[in-house]
Amino acid sequence: MKNSKKVTYSIILAAIILAFLFFLEANKANYGMAYTVLTKGAILAVVAVSMNLVTGFTGLFSLGQAGFMAIGAYITAIFLIPTDTIQDVYYISGVSPAIINFKGFLDSTPGWIQALAPYIALIVGGLAAALLAALIGIPVLRLKSDYLAIATLGFSEIVRAIISSPQLDTITNGSYGLKKIQGFSSIIQTFVIAGVCITLMVLLIRSTYGRAFKAIREDETAAEAMGINLFKHKELSFVIGSFFSGVSGGMLAMFMRSIDTKTFSVSLTYDILLIVVIGGIGSVTGSVISALLVTVSKEWWLRFFDNPLYIGNFQVPFFRTGFRMVVFSIILLVVVLFYQRGIMGKNEFSWDKIGNNFTRFKGFIAKKASKGGSDHAK
């Protein structure tokens, strides 16, 4: 397929998605469920791709996503709680003077900076997560596969414990969490931020650094022998992955409008891992498709599993609260056991492949038709 044709197709696809989002934005009231679910899906797509960058492309099995998301979320939340309601949010233990001063400083900045506040908040949240990742990466990345997994998991629990500790009550509001966070202005904003984040990660994966990551994933010793600085590249992948986890944590805070430490427990990391595995470990498009698909089915299409279902007078057994999650975990287990490639395996979406499939399909139809014709001639 020619490059110009591919560009045209991509533009058409982007235009269709954008038109669909504008349609959703205009008819928010009628399509509330789709609106919420797609927003959440886009946010989870960012963190899924970031986990894929670390786990799927660099081969570092890291389970610390929830911790980095928590850091991003809390920093974004402190940025975005309106100054006049901040006392209500911290009504239990009072606000730390540092936050008051900071909010005062933020309010004194020119209007255009305040308009950009959500973006600045997300970036600062991401940077904080990245900084912490850089610090803990120095010792932790020396560990091998499963030890790394448990150490990062432990780290994310430490972050959670520190955030909810009473000593930080005036900053993080302890176990009560933060509320009244300013949300997204529209679904388009969410998708644009998510799109930019994912594009940046794709560019990284396609660069020489990305090729080095893949070499490390395939064989560390061989990669080292080829002159790849193992630690430098692992650290880079880990830090950048954590940056985007932090950003998506901030986006989650803006989406949920109120956060507490329970949101960022180990099970959040497991949910993201589930998305990555179903999408295909090592495929960005797989992660994106699976993030949207998993969120939409979990929160919307499979909801009926949770309610009693009657066919005539007969009540279908098993259908009650919680059944949805059981079905979901069974699907995950089946994917892990029998279909380890996931939706996309290590492949990416490309127009060439679709084109090839289409030509093959056309050829198949033509063959059928000609066969039918020859039968008729007899």
């Binding site: 099995f61 432990g154 629990e157 520190i162």
Partner: protein, 293 residues
């Protein structure tokens, strides 16, 4: 803190540590043989808690406890057969993800079957009897736990070191393929290891939950992770190491809570893990492992 309160806390810590030690053995044995962090082990422990609630509802404890042990063993072995056996030759990450998926399934299944609300754990009357020694008072379970733990570990060490099954287990954990060539039936040995691990988790769950009084679908996650840390602390693959690790973590956690740092007690465990992994990755009793190309 006076001497008697300190003694009281240490006693509680030893009791908690005993339960941790029993769970940690399950982790350490499975890791020794399959090189797998069995993320589902904490949830097997949680399920054993629920089994106890339901069997105690209609049976006296003398019958209920053996039933709970048997059902838990079946659960553990079935999990191994269904979720881990098909992935023997798969990369290590796949089998670990499978373990996480099983843990996810067990938690959701427990939420579905028993709801997320805490369920009261049945009391075994004689375990709850209060003893007084001077100013220190504790229930019988506090004294029984460490004694039972030590007895079970001695029995287990005898099994590992002096029986044919034990030789097979040691052979498989030393070298999977060679053991297979020597005519050891690997799958049988692995099932036995899971059975032992689940049995100890069931006993540990009875001792642990008798002190805690309630079970929720998520009450296995944190103890599970902590016991894995205990196993790493003692040196993964080493049974006495796991026991020592369990006691160290149990006592230090109780003391931290007593000093008023209860929110940091979990964080402390994981900080300990990271420090051990950095300075002594093989733990206190672990063997040195050198990666060869």
């Amino acid at each position: 803190m006076t001497l008697s309160t300190l003694f009281q806390h240490i006693l509680t810590g030893i009791s908690l540590g005993g339960a941790y030690a029993l769970i940690a053995i399950g982790y350490t044995m499975v890791y020794g043989i399959l090189r797998l962090i069995n993320f589902a082990h904490g949830d097997i422990f949680m399920m054993a808690g629920y089994f106890m609630i339901f069997s105690m509802a209609s049976l006296p404890w003398q019958i209920a406890i053996p039933i709970v042990c048997i059902v838990t063993i079946i659960l553990g072995v079935v999990i191994e057969r269904v979720a881990y056996k098909p992935l023997r030759t798969a990369p290590r990450m796949s089998i670990m993800i499978s373990a996480i998926a099983v843990s996810y399934l067990l938690q959701n299944l427990a939420t579905y079957l028993f709801t997320a609300l805490p369920r009261a754990y049945p009391e075994i009357p004689f375990l709850k009897k209060i003893f007084h020694i001077g100013t220190v008072s504790a229930s019988l379970v506090t004294f029984i736990t460490p004694v039972l733990t030590v007895l079970l570990v001695i029995a287990l060490m005898f099994l590992i070191n002096h029986t044919k099954v034990g030789i097979a287990i040691r052979a498989v954990s030393k070298d999977f393929e060679t053991a297979q060539l020597m005519g050891i039936r690997i799958n049988k040995v692995i099932s036995i290891v899971f059975a032992i691990g689940s049995f100890l988790a069931a006993i540990g769950s009875i001792l642990y939950f008798t002190d805690r009084m309630s079970v929720t679908p998520f009450s296995g996650t944190l103890p599970g992770l902590k016991c894995f840390v205990a196993a790493v602390l003692g040196g993964i693959g080493s049974i006495p190491g796991a026991v020592v690790g369990g006691f160290v973590i149990g006592i230090s956690e109780t003391l931290l809570v007593a000093l008023g740092y209860s929110t940091f007690s979990d964080a402390f465990t994981f900080a300990l893990l990271i420090v051990i992994l950095l300075f002594r990755p093989t733990g206190l009793f672990g063997e040195k492992n050198i990666d060869k190309v």
